[in-house]
Amino acid sequence: MFSAGTERLLLQAREIQDEELKKFCLHITGLLQKEDLGNETINCLQRLFLIVSATKYSRKLEKEFVELLLSALYFPKSPEQVQVLCAAIVREISPSDNLTLFYDHIQNTKLLSLVSSVLLAQGNKKDEVRDVGLHVTKIFESRQPEGQSLRYLLPVLSKVITLSPKVLKEDQINLLNKRLIDWLRYASIQQGVAQTSGGFFSNPWARQPAPITEVDGAVATDFFTVLSVGQHYTEDQWLNMKAFSMLRKWLLYSGNDGTDSPDSDDKSELEGSIMSMVSATSTSSRLLPPKERLRENAFEYCQRLIEQSTRRALKKSDFELQKACLSEAVIILDLLCRQDSSFIYRTLTCLKILHGRLCGDLAYVRALLPVAQFFLNHSEAAAVNSEAVYQHLFTNIPSELFYNSVLAFEFIQFCRENIHFLNGNVTIFKSSFPNLIKFLAWNSASLISEFLDILPVFIDASTAIEMLHVLLDMPCLTAALDLYLRSSCPTAEKPLWDPTLKPTSCLDGFRDPHYQALFQHLLRTKARGIIKGLTPLHQLLKPMASCPRVVQCAETVPILIQLFFTVVTEFADGTLINQLVVLLLERSDLLFDVPQFKAAVHRVMSSQLLVLCKLHPSLVVELSKELLEFTGTISNIHSKESLFTNVVWAVGEYLSVLYDRRCTVELINRFFEALEALLFEITQFRPSATLPKCCPRVITVLMTTLTKLVSRSQDLIPRVFLFLSKVRSFAENPTMTSVYSEEDTETILTRATELMNLLKMPSVAQFVLTPSVEVSNPRYHLDTNTSLPLALRMVSQVVEKEAGFLPGQDTNRYRCTLGDLES
């Protein structure tokens, strides 16, 4: 339990000063020199460990003291507690210079393992890993000392080959191959004998070794594996377990030769190795060199594990082990096939049967991914069609098991690691994105960063529109998945959903045929286009909109759509961009009502709208109908201010013949009239409850856009001039000044004045507000302070002071400070 006391202790340990620590070490030195290895010493060592481990900064321990700790570690009479504490303290201060450990004389394998752990923690600066590796191998080579078990050393070997690839020589590897074969394949199938003292009354029959059994209690049918059960285990059975635990790693290590990269998906390399291996294939395994023989034995071992995993385990923990073993067995078989293609045909039948079995048994579902990986790696070489495997994997698993978070993680890892293959070769993969998104919708907090890696692959011209809908509908999907779980397994012992939430009305709606089509669409497994009108679902699911899981999911959506646009703008053409803009305008209203969700999505939408306009300025002309409709809706100002402002700005910026020759004066006038009416409406009416206060930014952007438009249709100049002066008087109106702050009023006033000044010189206005491409590109100066207001202010000052004397060519220098957006 972590309590205030623990916290206090931790802080105390951190605050101990060097002097105090020195004294404490002296005390321990005294105890150790007296060979006092009792409780007080243990107690002191426990505290010392805390002191050195509690801080991230190094604690200084004297060299002599460290050596004393090490000698306590070696000391044969030391209790295990003292030994592990000494080792832990030295490890904790590692890497330490000048650390000398002597272990050549150590006979005790358990102690050797402990000493190795200290050495391996030193960062391999002095080749400690190699030393440990060679020493351990030497013990494997020699006759083991009486009463000492090699089983403590196998994990050391395992760690050594993980840390350093080139430690062992060929003959050492061969020797270890042979020993592993013995342990894996020829462990005793009789139970071990309990190490009781026997004694006078001991029952002689009890010592009779009983046969090993399977996990279901039946007598073992074949050789010993980790799934074999006995009351007591013999030494070789322990070694069997340890050997299998490190088998995958060892096979990779010994089969590697330092050149082959086994996990690479580069097929050419693999094929090269296949050709060289084919000739070495032989079934009479006894004649094979140790490496091949080990592979042969590993193959049999894995086959046996697969067979054993069909048995019904008596104990729950054994059932869990069966699952882990099944996955491991398939992974090892896959590895064997990569290393030696002659295994492919022998493995194929077995894994086909296994796949059939797994499809019907969700308990072993986690093994499906290794199986799929096998087919992915080898179906080409084996000339088999593995469509069915992918079909099942991408259709059934996400939709049925989206709530299994570790499976979801592994599934996305599988996609990520094989993304190039899946994208290029598996047709169902790309179309199953609505299904894969279920993993994310349910486990959004834990999966988002994984998902960002794979999302781009699903986005192309044909899927972009549907994908954007899918992403925007994700929070709604989360709610639907929740209902799906509640209605499909209502009696689950441990609810997979939030038990504090009781969405009765939603659940009724989920079963209501009226909503069926909409739910089916939302929960579809394959991409199949879009349907309009999820609004009824948003209404129905409203009670679930603020439940934590939905909120968590909603928080990831802005990140995803940001990524979506980053990808889509790389390839989108005009047609697609137009579709996307229409979609943005439409969907800005149709969003699930999750707290803060709309605002966050609008932010991304409005910034992306500008990106799209910049890429394809003609959209302002091509989508004039939609844009007029959008800007003509006064409620949009308040419900999505940022998007509205950016649309208005885009109209002012891009509605010009410079960008599209189809832009007529009539069109400009139409926009002008619509925006003028709108600005009139928001400024000439007094603010009331029905029409809340409008942000001054909207007013200034509208004014500027109107001015920009008239600079391209100069007949309207008098009209906008008059209008701007009205706005000026409006802003000075006392009823308005009560609503707007002084600063806001000032902003509006200044902008109106500046624009009016500019309009006094129509040719300058046109030049400033609608720069030709030659003038604006390249933009010599672009920084955060570059903006239209600055340019306006300067022009305004010039116009006010020197009206009529401004030579045209000099305006160039004002041009270069013209930015993209007014503040």
């Binding site: 986690r366 781009p456 990140i559 703008t569 790389e570 903006s787 993209d820």
Partner: protein
């Protein structure tokens, strides 16, 4: 209004917005392995096929537990007030051959190691919080804590997440975590570890810690019982090697463990 630079948005910025604050992956649009499909008019625009490269796979088998740690889980209500503390940590070996050839002192190595583990603990803590929140389970502190009742570890919040290369370890890692009482336990594994085995091992270790550190009775203190944690790890996770232990093997090891602890 914030100054917008549409052209800048096309960079690789998105990765920075990822939930974990991971560094952005740089992508090379000229990746030769890209597969283009779809309509030919877009074929020239290569970057739309994401240039996701699989993690740089190591030449070596990457299946081993790199570290084990026990850390605190602050109650959800406490917000930032409570710090996440690493109560115990054990790194098995050290990080493999550093890519950084510059020599650095042992102090820096040690500092880095400690920072890495704290980063893992923090991430595990927030993962646990988010999971608890999403599943509507009562926060840890409300769980029954009477010392007689066994804690249902199979029901405890648990999960897994990936650490990208360079953040905080040189190579990618996968972290399996489990929360019980107000403690979190985590295994930092190499990327291709058998996760089923890692999960069940973590569950087993947690049970053993509960039993042998008497975590339920408030008198005992995890900070001062490192020897017990060490001995448990030496038996059940030797050198960071996950073991395929069936129930009888577990019992056998538990007998050895009891002998070690009472000696």
């Amino acid at each position: 209004m914030k100054k917008l630079r549409p052209s800048k948005l096309k960079g690789q910025k998105w990765a920075e917005t990822g939930g974990t604050g991971v560094p952005s992956r740089t992508s090379d649009p000229k990746d030769g392995r890209e597969i283009t499909n779809g309509s030919p008019s877009h074929a020239r625009e290569s970057p739309r096929n994401p240039t996701i490269l699989p993690d740089i796979r190591t030449q070596l088998p990457a299946t081993m537990v790199h570290a084990f740690l026990i850390h605190t889980l602050s109650p959800p209500a406490s917000g930032d007030a409570a710090f996440c503390r690493v109560l115990y940590s054990r790194v098995f070996g050290s990080e493999r051959s550093p890519a950084d050839p510059r020599p650095h002192g042992p102090e820096r190595d040690r500092l880095l190691r400690k920072e890495q583990l704290l980063a893992v603990a923090r991430q595990a803590e927030s993962a646990c919080k988010l999971l608890q929140q999403a599943s509507g389970r009562p926060p840890m502190d409300l769980l029954p804590q009477s010392s007689d009742e066994p804690i249902p570890l199979h029901d405890a919040p648990s999960g897994v997440f990936r650490l990208r290369p360079g953040d905080p370890f040189q190579e990618a890692k996968v972290v399996v975590w489990l929360g019980f009482l107000s403690l979190g336990c985590a295994l930092v594994c190499e990327p291709h570890e058998n996760l089923l085995l890692a999960e069940s091992t973590l569950c087993l270790l947690s049970r053993l810690l509960l039993d042998h550190l008497k975590l339920l009775s408030s008198s005992s203190d995890i900070l001062l019982r490192a020897d017990r944690v060490e001995i448990i790890l030496n038996h059940f996770l030797p050198q960071g090697q996950l073991l395929f232990l069936n129930d009888q093997f577990v019992q056998g090891l538990e007998k050895e463990l009891s002998a070690s602890l009472t000696r």
